[in-house]
């Protein structure tokens, strides 16, 4: 049969049998809608989680964790500048950003502009420094996340000698800009969810926190609220300035540019503390490079590679797979429904099939005609299902915007409907319809034309 006449005949038959076929395609529509919905949800969540929360093109390596005895016998490899250089030299590595934790006690206080009064907080173990390049482009001007103490400011006797927001830093007695500080979304959520309600303090939220960018607070290096002091150096106060909220900040605590932490560690904890990084964030050129890099890092002795992204990604994949299988099962049942409908339709059209055979239709023509109808039903049902899924996704997103409170990494959309996925879902609907119609179509093609005409 020629292609165009076939399509014409298919269209004419579909118009005639539209009620039957609409019922048959209902299951396809529902199945594909749920399949597209769950796959879109999985892809959307994966994009948020692996793109923002645990970026899949990034991994963070830490020094190997050793037991007490093993630690005595063998210190293990340290993360120092030599390691950073070796990692940066790898062809699959786009960039490597060292991180360093403060290695001595710290305490802080402040927050009056936000909370209405100053509160004190323990920061020992909760301050780290990161390479400013990791935050490139993230902090809007006029604030900046960089090392302002690189060049010493003018001499001063008190804060009055310095231009705001600079203060007179001791013991050097030099005017210094406040140290740029970042907090994470996680700590804001913790504060809003647990700390603020417990103390009757106002909630902050990410939006409010962003309004208070530029707020300063003080920390005291070398002293904690538990009475601990640094091994060396004299305790001193430093002003910090909140410059933003970032997922690259330490989850609980405050993150400052790496050079500050290096200088403070050298001053309060010794040279070794200033040269050993707590971790290195490595960004690869493509996700596929991670496996090779992990093997390389293993050869360096850094086998404690944190790959939260892989675990979370696997979890999301499993959940999506289960929901996808349930949806695919719905489509499979729908395909059986299509088969049943076609068996009915063919019983009704028995004489017509005999007539078409008498007019010159071969078995292949009859098969092609019925499968063509099934393909159109599948593509229309599949397309409608995908459209419904996209609509349902948009409705969920709208509901989330108005009904759900802000939370860390709350996305604009929970869904991602890629063109290729939508096309694959429609193709799946077509394949299921074709499979459903295959047996009835073969049966119709095998009909004895004389018997089908009822003239025997």
């Amino acid at each position: 049969m020629k292609r165009f006449p076939l399509l014409r005949l298919v269209a004419q038959n579909l118009r005639r049998n539209r009620r039957h076929l609409m019922l048959a395609s209902l299951g396809i529509v529902v199945g594909i809608a749920s399949l597209a919905f769950f796959l879109g949800l999985g892809a959307g969540v994966r994009r948020v989680v692996l793109g923002e929360v645990f970026p899949a093109d990034r991994l963070e390596i830490t020094p190997p964790k050793t037991g007490f005895l093993a630690g005595l016998l063998h210190a293990g490899p340290a993360l120092d500048d030599a390691v950073v250089r070796r990692i940066r030299d790898r062809p699959e590595v786009r960039a490597a950003y060292p991180k360093m934790k403060l290695a001595f006690p710290v305490r802080g206080w402040g927050g009056k502009p936000i909370l209405g009064r100053d509160v004190a907080f323990e920061l020992s173990g909760f301050i780290d420094g990161v390479d400013a390049a990791l935050l490139e482009g993230e902090i809007p001007s006029p604030l900046a996340f960089r090392d302002f103490a690189e060049k010493p400011g003018p001499a001063c006797a008190s804060d009055a000698d310095c231009r705001a927001p600079e203060s007179c830093a001791l013991p050097a007695r030099r005017c210094e800009r406040p140290v740029p500080a970042l907090v994470s979304r996680t700590i804001l959520e913790m504060y809003d969810g647990s700390i603020a309600p417990a103390h009757g303090w106002p909630r902050v939220g990410e939006w409010i926190a962003s309004r208070f960018r530029g707020t300063t607070f003080s920390i005291e290096l070398g002293r904690s609220f538990f009475g601990d002091t640094a091994r060396q150096g004299a305790p001193r106060q430093v002003r910090l300035q909140l410059v933003g909220v970032s997922d690259k900040a330490i989850p609980i605590g405050v993150t400052v540019p790496l050079p500050y932490v290096q200088r403070w560690n050298r001053e309060m904890a010794g040279a070794a503390a200033a040269s050993h990084y707590s971790s290195i964030v490595v960004r690869v050129r493509s996700k596929g490079d991670i496996t090779g890099l992990v093997a390389f890092l293993g050869s360096l002795g850094f086998d404690q590679v944190e790959s939260e992204a892989e675990r979370v990604g696997l979890f999301i994949t499993m959940v999506t797979l289960v929901l996808g299988l349930v949806s695919a099962a719905i489509v499979g049942v729908a395909a059986l429904n299509v088969a049943h409908t076609y068996l009915m339709v063919i019983a009704e059209r028995r004489r017509e099939i005999g007539l078409l055979r008498a007019l010159g239709a071969s078995r292949g023509d009859i098969r092609a005609l019925l499968l063509g109808e099934a393909a159109v039903v599948g593509s229309l049902g599949g397309t409608l299902g995908v459209v419904l899924a996209i609509g349902a996704g948009a409705a969920c997103d709208a509901l989330s915007r108005v009904a759900l409170p802000d939370f860390p990494f709350k996305p604009e959309s929970y869904f991602h409907f890629s063109a290729s996925a939508c096309a694959a879902e429609v193709a799946f609907a077509v394949i299921c319809c074709l499979l459903g119609a295959l047996f009835p179509a073969n049966r119709a093609a095998r009909l004895d034309p004389a018997a089908a005409l009822g003239s025997a």
Binding site: Q12, L355, G360
Partner: protein, 221 residues
């Protein structure tokens, strides 16, 4: 007799144990109008199906337009039906969801689609006097008009043989006579080879030769 278009030799066909055609031998010449009469259940329709390549479960030899139908594959037999044979049925065999014109063009979907299909279909409708009803759906046509649309469809592919199975069976006397007259004029003016099975006398009167089928055996009318 002119050169034989249809040749049957020793054709036997049975349904289960019941013989329907028994050793049928027949030749039909080009341009002949053959009437086959017989009682209901005598095997007339089966004979027509065998000649038209719709029924292959026979023994013996059937040659139509020089082709041994028993030797053709399903695809080639379908092509043969499409190009060489036109069928007219008692119940018209029109698809109710297609216009008269689309019904006439149906064979074009399966091969005989060369040239301007619609023009050829309109020509066929003109020949049976129904060009003005080309866009009507069959339910809006009378029985006689439906049968004329069916004849137009049978003529669409310019077949060598036109096979009609009780073509006036569902028509009243006057309309049936119109159809018989149409067959006669097609046979006379266009030299269409016609084999009409019927139990109606007026059809057999119009035919150039009449054979009788009794208990599966072909007898001179």
């Amino acid at each position: 007799m002119a050169e034989a278009v249809v040749q049957l030799h020793g054709v036997r066909r049975s349904y289960g144990d019941k013989p329907v055609l028994s050793d049928v031998t027949l030749e039909v010449g080009a341009g002949e109008f053959l009437g086959i009469v017989g009682k209901s259940g005598s095997g007339k329709s089966t004979l027509l199906n065998v000649v038209g390549g719709l029924d292959r479960a026979y023994h013996g030899t059937v040659r139509v337009c020089g082709q041994d139908l028993g030797a053709l594959s399903d695809t080639r037999l379908s092509r043969f039906r499409n190009r060489r044979v036109g069928f007219v049925f008692q119940s018209f065999g029109l698809l109710d969801h297609l216009s008269a014109l689309d019904n006439v063009m149906l064979p074009a979907h399966f091969g005989s689609g060369e040239g301007d299909i619609e023009r050829r279909a309109r020509d066929a409708l003109f020949r049976v006097g129904l060009l003005d009803r080309a866009n009507d759906l069959p339910p809006r046509l009378s029985g006689g008009q439906k049968q004329r649309v069916a004849i137009a469809r049978a003529l669409f592919s310019a077949p060598d043989v036109l096979l009609a199975d009780e073509p006036t069976g569902n028509l009243d006397r006057s309309t049936g006579q119109d159809v018989v007259d149409l067959f006669s004029s097609l046979n006379r003016e266009r030299r269409v080879t016609l084999i009409v099975v019927t139990h109606e006398e007026r059809v057999s009167v119009a035919a150039g030769r009449v054979l009788r089928l009794e208990d599966g055996r072909l007898l001179q009318g």
